[in-house]
């Protein structure tokens, strides 16, 4: 059973990322805060007797469900279904070379100061915007896998899909982000 301190530390460590994830989905600060609050309370009420190691996965699952509940309450199901569409075509991704983007990334560590076209904060805003524009499932997979640092199996469990789907979503998200950022001249 997670102690009060373990639960508190866990919530503290995850609350800002959870807020951002909810914000990507609902694009409204107040709604995102409500969703995070709802998620925290659901976790505390139903799963506070679970070991601390189980909390991250449970939290992500509850957060996803709480976000879906918010959409249901808002009666914008059609918009959600549109965003959740996984049938987007390759869109030229096959022609895009991620190695090229990463070469640019590697080069960026050597470029500092006057050569940088945009400031660091502007880069972060641009990255934020591009992540927000990803299709929902791709964004979820990408954030769980790389931001929450879940492995593929944990991400699949949190998203309720297969590991193969997680890999596909992550790969598409990475390629889409790399391409979008490169087109803006952002080299991270």
């Amino acid at each position: 059973m997670a102690t009060d301190k373990e639960l508190s530390d866990f919530l503290k460590s995850i609350e800002k990322r959870a807020f951002k994830r909810a914000l990507y989905a609902v694009r409204n600060d107040e709604a995102a805060l409500d969703i995070v609050q709802d998620t925290m309370i659901r976790l505390a009420e139903k799963y506070s007797d679970r070991p601390a190691a189980e909390l991250p996965l449970l939290f992500q699952r509850i957060l996803s469900n709480a976000t879906m509940d918010w959409f249901r309450r808002q009666k914008v199901r059609n918009a959600v279904l549109k965003n959740f569409s996984d049938f987007e075509g390759p869109g030229g991704d096959g022609e895009f070379d991620i190695l090229e983007a990463l070469d640019a990334l590697d080069g960026s560590t050597r470029q500092d100061g006057a050569d940088e076209v945009v400031s660091r904060s502007q880069i972060m805003v641009a990255i934020d915007a591009e992540v927000a524009q990803l299709p929902t499932r791709q964004r979820e997979a990408f954030l769980l896998r790389y931001w929450e640092e879940f492995d593929v199996a944990e991400t699949a469990t949190a998203m309720g899909c297969s590991e193969g789907s997680v890999k596909t979503h992550c790969s598409r998200a990475v390629h889409a982000l790399a391409k979008a950022l490169k087109s803006k001249g952002i080299t991270l």
Binding site: L7, K16, K20, Q37, M124, I127, Y146
Partner: protein, 147 residues
């Protein structure tokens, strides 16, 4: 002209994707630290509410798991948190009480029987007054079969 040596293998692509993903995530983490103080405060309040709720739930669970039940209550209603022998041990005082009540009842009945027998013996052993033979009840008593 074979250009295939320039193409990364599937494993390399996976590694490159991971590197890229982690770098983007690092920027997202950096940005998430710059959330406004009002949002940080709201998150803190939410966290406190959740912790308070967790404490309430735990207290309720402890109470429901037998913390407020007496040993006699546990013996009668059963207590899933304890073993069979503990439950049996808790029932022993109740069984001893029942046995004591039964013994007292038997002892009281024996005392009453002994007292009645003593009176009957005294009556029968005493000299019988002649008027007794005029009593219909006594006559019936004499006529009744003896065991």
């Amino acid at each position: 002209m074979n250009k295939s040596y320039n193409l990364p293998s599937a494993a390399n692509v996976g590694a490159l994707e991971s590197r890229f993903g982690l770098r983007v995530a690092a920027h997202l983490s950096e940005q998430s630290l710059q959330l406004g103080p009002d949002i940080g405060e709201r998150l803190r309040v939410s966290r406190e509410q959740a912790l308070q709720r967790a404490r309430t739930v735990r207290a309720t669970q402890v109470a429901a798991s037998g913390g407020g039940m007496t040993s006699a209550g546990a013996a009668i209603l059963g207590d899933p948190g304890k073993g069979w022998w503990v439950t049996l041990g808790s029932a022993l005082p109740l069984l001893a009480l029942l046995a004591g009540l039964l013994l007292i009842q038997k002892w009281y009945a024996d005392v009453q029987i002994a007292a009645a027998a003593e009176i009957d013996t005294a009556l029968l052993a005493d000299d019988l007054p002649p008027k007794a033979y005029g009593d219909a009840g006594f006559v019936e008593f004499l006529k009744a079969p003896r065991n």
